[in-house]
């Protein structure tokens, strides 16, 4: 049980790290570049929020980097489970007549 909990925590941090990287690269700059967002906050407030948000993303990314292998392990487990289901005779997958 304890091992399971530790693994869950690693999975959570690893996944969060992947998501943080994706958000930072693909979403954050686009969102922060919108002029109406900048105008609603005002220059100083905007810079503060921008720094805070990007810093938090980088932290999540770095803190979970070493836990990323847990995500790969989990995905492999899911894949093998799926392939077992798909290959089970009579399941409608490869094994069906």
């Amino acid at each position: 049980m304890r091992e399971g909990s530790l693994f869950d925590e690693a999975l959570r941090r690893g996944l969060e790290s992947y998501v943080a990287e994706m958000l930072r690269i693909h979403v954050a700059e686009g969102l922060l570049a919108r002029p109406e967002i900048r105008a609603a906050l005002g220059p100083q407030h905007f810079e503060r929020v921008r720094a805070e948000v990007l810093d938090r993303l980088r932290r999540s990314e770095e803190e979970g980097r070493e836990a990323r292998p847990a995500v790969s392990t989990a995905v492999s487990d899911v894949l093998s489970l799926l392939s077992r289901i798909a290959g089970r005779p009579g399941s409608g997958g490869e094994g069906s007549p």
Partner: protein, 555 residues
């Protein structure tokens, strides 16, 4: 249920009173249409009376006066309806907001009896003294100052005696009246009177249970544990029950008592800004907020901190809805119409009969006017009312939690302006909401939790899919498959058009998911492989769905 069964012997007296008050306020026609008057005449207990004065008073005001006269249940019902501009017309909403919930206090003997019965010990065993005069008296309860044997200064909130019986009878009558109205007054059916009474009954039950109020106080206090300028009274769980609530006594002045605040040397503008910030935080960060923030519930303490009182009526918003609300409000505040209309479509809040282009046009009108107005001249409650009005007219379904949020924000603005006439709520609202929106949209933790949930749901779907599909195919082979389309009100032509549109969408998505899945499963990344399998599974389901849809339609 027939109207005849309405007249349960024990409710007849109360029903006669309701009918008599309705008649006196000029609503004889309503009473007659639900056959209340005829039935009462039959049993010879009431005669039709029509007040000449009632004819000259606007109908909205007459409803408010009738509710006040009929007591707690109707006052509370009116207060609930005042938060539902989607259900009642705006003039009535505005009138119902003026409902007074002040009633004469009940005798101290009843207070003592209730406390002793609830705590199961004599008053003197727990309290050093209890002030006999109530500090405040409302329709549900009244409040007395007291001191505990341990020396702590407290207040005791005591529920009115026999309240459960009075409200219980009113609720029974209301429910049966609503059923009768729904059955006999077709033009009232769209307002779903039965559903309203049911919702009202649930809300009132929560408010009448003081142990729920105590839990709300504790939850609210925990949410603001990091905020020294907001104080939530400390409750005493061991001395509180469903009908008695003992909590810390707060010394201070009402937020709108300018003279008292000046005497305390409090910066009123700072306090009002703080009040608005706390309201926004409770809604948009915690999703748990005070749904009845009138001036009497905002106390300012000598150190200029705000003490919030009365947690009987709370609103809560699910995280998903919170994201939607934020997105929509940021769209409104930044003039982004695509964001606003897109969200209404994505959240499935737009009805079939909505003319999206016309809705967009009206929203454009509001946004343009608002964008070009000086901040000081913008009335947030009027803006909220206007937006609600437009959305309701265009058949946008407004969820109850959203309406409570609108009410809480509008009330807070009203309190702010009353306390500080130069208060500009948008100065606080716009940057705050934009900041929270950015933080939520770029919250990796939140998104990763959603991803895990989706992955688990996707895996479950795939795991169950072969068996489900086999069941469907077996039924199809045996000719047992029946497609039932439940849409009684929509004309057949519209239903057929929807079915065609759905098939077109399925047909368009099928190759996307199929080829996307094939491409992804060929990748070397394990994550891509998993996504590919999910995608292929969905393509499979779409294919089956398309086949079933075409077979069911005979095309």
């Amino acid at each position: 249920m027939t109207v005849g069964s309405l007249y349960r012997l024990r409710d007849i007296g109360r029903l006669r009173r309701i009918a008599s008050v309705l008649a006196r306020h000029g609503f004889v026609d309503v009473a007659e249409r639900v056959h209340v008057m005829q039935a009462l005449r039959r049993i010879g207990r009431i005669f039709r009376r029509r007040s000449a004065a009632a004819e000259v008073i606007p109908w909205t005001r007459r409803i408010r006066l009738a509710a006040e006269e009929l007591g707690p249940t109707f006052v509370k019902l009116g207060q609930m309806l005042a938060t539902r501009p989607d259900l009642v017309p705006m003039p009535l909403v505005l009138e119902l907001r003026r409902l007074h919930d002040e009633v004469p206090p009940f005798p101290f003997e009843d207070v003592r009896a209730t406390i002793e019965a609830e705590l199961r010990r004599p008053l003197a065993e727990v309290f050093e003294w209890v002030e006999e005069d109530a500090v405040a008296a409302a329709s549900i309860a009244q409040v007395h100052r007291a001191r505990l044997k341990t020396g702590e200064e407290v207040v005791i909130k005591v529920q009115r005696p026999r309240l459960q019986e009075v409200i219980g009878a009113d609720l029974r009558i209301l429910l049966l009246l609503a059923q009768t109205i729904e059955a006999r007054v077709p033009e009232m059916r769209p307002f779903r009177p039965v559903a309203i009474v049911e919702e009202f009954r649930r809300s009132l039950s929560r408010e009448m249970d003081f142990s729920t109020e105590l839990s709300s106080m504790q939850r609210f206090a925990a949410n603001f544990a990091d905020e020294p300028m907001l104080h939530v009274p400390h409750g005493y769980p061991q001395l509180s029950t469903r009908r008695v609530l003992v909590m810390e006594r707060i010394e201070g002045a009402k937020i709108t008592d300018r003279a008292a605040l000046d005497a305390m040397g409090v910066d009123v503008k700072a306090v009002v800004d703080l009040g608005m910030r706390f309201t926004l935080r409770s809604i948009f960060e915690h999703g748990f907020f005070h749904a009845d923030p009138h001036p009497g519930n905002f106390f300012i303490r000598p150190d200029a901190s705000i003490a919030l009182l009365d947690f009987g009526m709370m609103g809560s918003v699910e995280p998903q809805r919170l994201d939607e609300m934020l997105t929509w409000m940021v769209g409104l505040l930044t003039g982004d119409l695509d964001m606003m209309v897109g969200l209404l479509l994505d959240a499935d809040l737009i009805g079939d009969e909505t003319d999206v282009r016309a809705l967009r046009g009206e929203l454009r009108g509001i946004v343009d006017r608002y964008q070009h107005a000086a901040l000081a001249s913008i009335d947030v409650s009027a803006l909220i009312s206007e937006v609600f009005d437009v959305t309701v007219r265009h058949h946008v379904f407004l969820p109850a939690d959203l309406l409570l949020v609108g009410k809480a924000m509008a009330t807070m603005e009203g309190i702010g302006r009353e306390a500080w006439p130069d208060f500009q709520p948008l100065d606080a609202i716009r940057p705050y909401l934009t900041e929270v929106y950015l933080k939520r949209m770029l919250d990796a933790k939140k998104h990763s939790q959603v991803a895990v949930r989706s992955l688990v749901e996707g895996a479950t779907l795939l795991k169950d899919a072969p068996l489900d599909i086999r069941r469907v195919l077996r039924k199809l082979r045996r000719g047992e498959l029946q497609i039932v389309h439940r849409s009684a009100d929509a004309p057949a032509e519209i239903r057929a058009r929807h079915a065609r549109t759905n098939r077109l969408i399925l047909a368009a998505l099928l190759p996307v998911f199929f080829f996307g899945g094939v491409w992804l499963t060929g990748s070397e990344s394990a994550l891509h492989n998993a996504a590919g399998l999910v995608s292929l599974g969905l393509a499979w389901l779409f294919f089956i769905g398309l086949g079933i849809s075409m077979l069911g339609d005979g095309r």
